[in-house]
Subunit: 219 residues, 4 copies
DNA sequence: GATGAATGAGCTTTCATTCAT
DNA sequence: TATGAATGAAAGCTCATTCAT
């Protein structure tokens, strides 16, 4: 039986300096733990472990638990800007085509980034972190709802859509998207059979557009 | 020695705090605090204060914080049975009429009872209380979704609705209802102008039905 | 060997309610630990142990370590008022008689109360707790020094004492008293033979008075 | 490759930080921080910053915080030897002249060297570092007190001074000096008007000598 | 039963110390 | 040698739970 200490080769160093990467790694780890357990139930220990550092390290990069939480939400919201830059909507398309495109683009972004983890967190912590909720409302919800409402209104004005309250319609169109995201990170694990998210999204847009249109596609 | 509260005419006090109401009062208080702050961030002190008892009293009726939480969720889910008993759907109506009725009935129930406070709680605590989530899924979500899916399927079979995946359609119809509830107990306080919930619900059913119908109402 | 649990008689209760006495007991314990170790080196655990309670109990009566410290210093300073009430100086006596009396009275008070533990604490924590130091200065040092200076001045005016700066003289008269106290609670344990405090005080007053007088007692 | 720091004219840099000065610089910085905050409340980070090095560097020269502290006190005590070498007392002078000289010499040394910072530190940390306190007692306090007591005794023997306990008298003569030093590094910042230290010292020696003398200077 | 003082386990945070760079 | 990121033991503090009153 060989003596452990005699092993010739590479002793893995006890730790490594990762000054530049750490904050991001910690925030990523923290986001997932906060998402799963909620802010209060999350122990810094869990985050540290997931980020493969020790508790103390967290305090090198963030002043405290709250600061870590806020930073990570802010960081998440910040990703929206990047998304906006790369997403352009066809200008002359009909309203239903724009909606189709928007929903799919948005979903692609929401479904595949940390950004999509925010809704569940925001909803859970809304009253405990009012300032964050307000920021999310102002920077994410309201602009998104506005964009959707504008397209709906455009459709109404063009005679393509029925006359409805455009803002309410926008909320209703967006609700299933958010619900799907929130569900994904909470109860969906308890579904008997997994949700086919894309089918859900497709069915949703079709029904929505169909519901809005004055003369539906089916003749 | 006469009871101070005794009204002039009768010897029966009009209102008396029955010993057996204590647990109910505590659960009501607890529900609201858990709803606002989440399970972990809620201090029993807060609940006690809201229920106008002291911390110690909570432990007379519930073995611990977790038991109080579980009890209150179970109690909430239990209300569903009472609701089911009193709600009957017209048997011969057309699918869209049934949907219209169901959504309004459900919303009336959800919007005005403690039952409607559960979704936000379940979503926030889903992973921390898997057994509760499972119970909610089995007793509430799946049956409700099934009922809705059955009506949709009935509409499809009758040629009233387009051919869609009835279960997905059911989810989509229910999503805005739950979203509205969840929103009400989290971020809605941060809306610029308050949501008119009934307009939202009405617009939603109309669009949904319109979206499903083979030949929409507007000719 | 008897089973512990079978012991018939008085099981000492795990704890007892002492709402009214606790704060004082805790402050007394804390004063001694702070005096011995200094503020920063004192662990709440030590205080709790000395006060025969657990750490948690400290937080029932004081919001945090700092609050406990401040409270206890304030409490200590407060004792001065009680002392002042009971100490009267003879009005017509000669200056040297008043000094004699004052020093002895003061020393009796300083040497036998918690009040006398403050100087060492104040000096050690002066820069860490500037507000406390200021309070001690304004409420204790300056008034005390003023009283002594007034007597010295009276002696000078009456031709009994040499002409010196009365305030400086007051400081010098008080210095050995404070030094003795500070020493008592710090290095005196390391003296080869213990200090005879009363001899020290007596010698000091005699020398001081003798030093001040225009014509000394020895003919 | 030429040294960047090399001055134009000479190859010898005008000023170079000698390797051997590091420990001294660190101890100087540490002394001041320990003096201000006390041992436990001092963070090595603060010392490092004041010494213009980083935390890690401290551990190159000192094995740990305690070692740094002990070293610096020992170093301070060591200065006493140098002082003793250069201070000679006139052998044939009268006792009161020697006292006058001694006090002034000692004060000059205490007031202007790091040595004078020790008393406050020793008093504050006496019980936490008994060995240091003992060392200070044996090497500083007792010899100093002995010297003073010897002079007083000499005065008594010569009939110049009253008969008092020489050791106690020595303590009393020294007390205001130490008190002044301790005060300077603690509460003196909170005095309404700054203390004129030399006036204080002068008044003190005069009063002390006057107090001791059988026949005072003022006839 | 009801109360709330007291407990103690557990979490956040600090900081002396180590060690990869 | 010097640095400072990373560690981890220890301290302050919170709060669910117990239990004397």
């Amino acid at each position: 039986m060989p003596d452990k200490k005699t092993e010739t080769a590479s002793h893995e160093p006890r730790w490594r300096r990762r000054k530049d990467d750490r904050p991001g790694e910690i925030m990523d780890a923290a986001l997932d733990v906060f998402l799963e357990k909620g802010y209060a139930a999350t122990r810094l220990e869990d985050i540290a472990q997931k980020a493969k550092v020790t508790k103390g390290t967290l305090f090198i990069y963030f002043t405290n638990k709250e600061d870590l939480f806020r930073s990570l939400v802010r960081e998440g919201i910040g990703q929206l800007a990047a998304f906006k830059d790369q997403s352009h909507t066809d200008l002359r398309a009909s309203a239903h085509e724009i909606i189709l495109l928007m929903v799919h683009n948005w979903w692609k972004f929401l479904a595949n980034s940390n950004f999509g983890k925010l809704p569940k967190i925001i909803i859970s912590e809304a009253t405990n972190f009012p300032d964050i909720t307000k920021m999310y409302m102002d920077d994410v919800i309201l602009p998104g709802r506005k964009m959707m409402a504008d397209v709906v209104q455009k459709g109404i004005d063009a005679g393509e859509f029925q006359s409805v309250d455009a803002e309410i319609a926008a909320r209703i169109i967006l609700a299933p998207l958010f619900m799907l995201l929130i569900w994904r990170y909470s109860a969906s694990a308890f579904e008997k059979k997994p949700i086919h998210e894309l089918d859900y999204i497709n069915t949703h847009v079709n029904l929505s557009i169909n519901g809005l249109q004055v003369r539906p596609a089916t003749p």
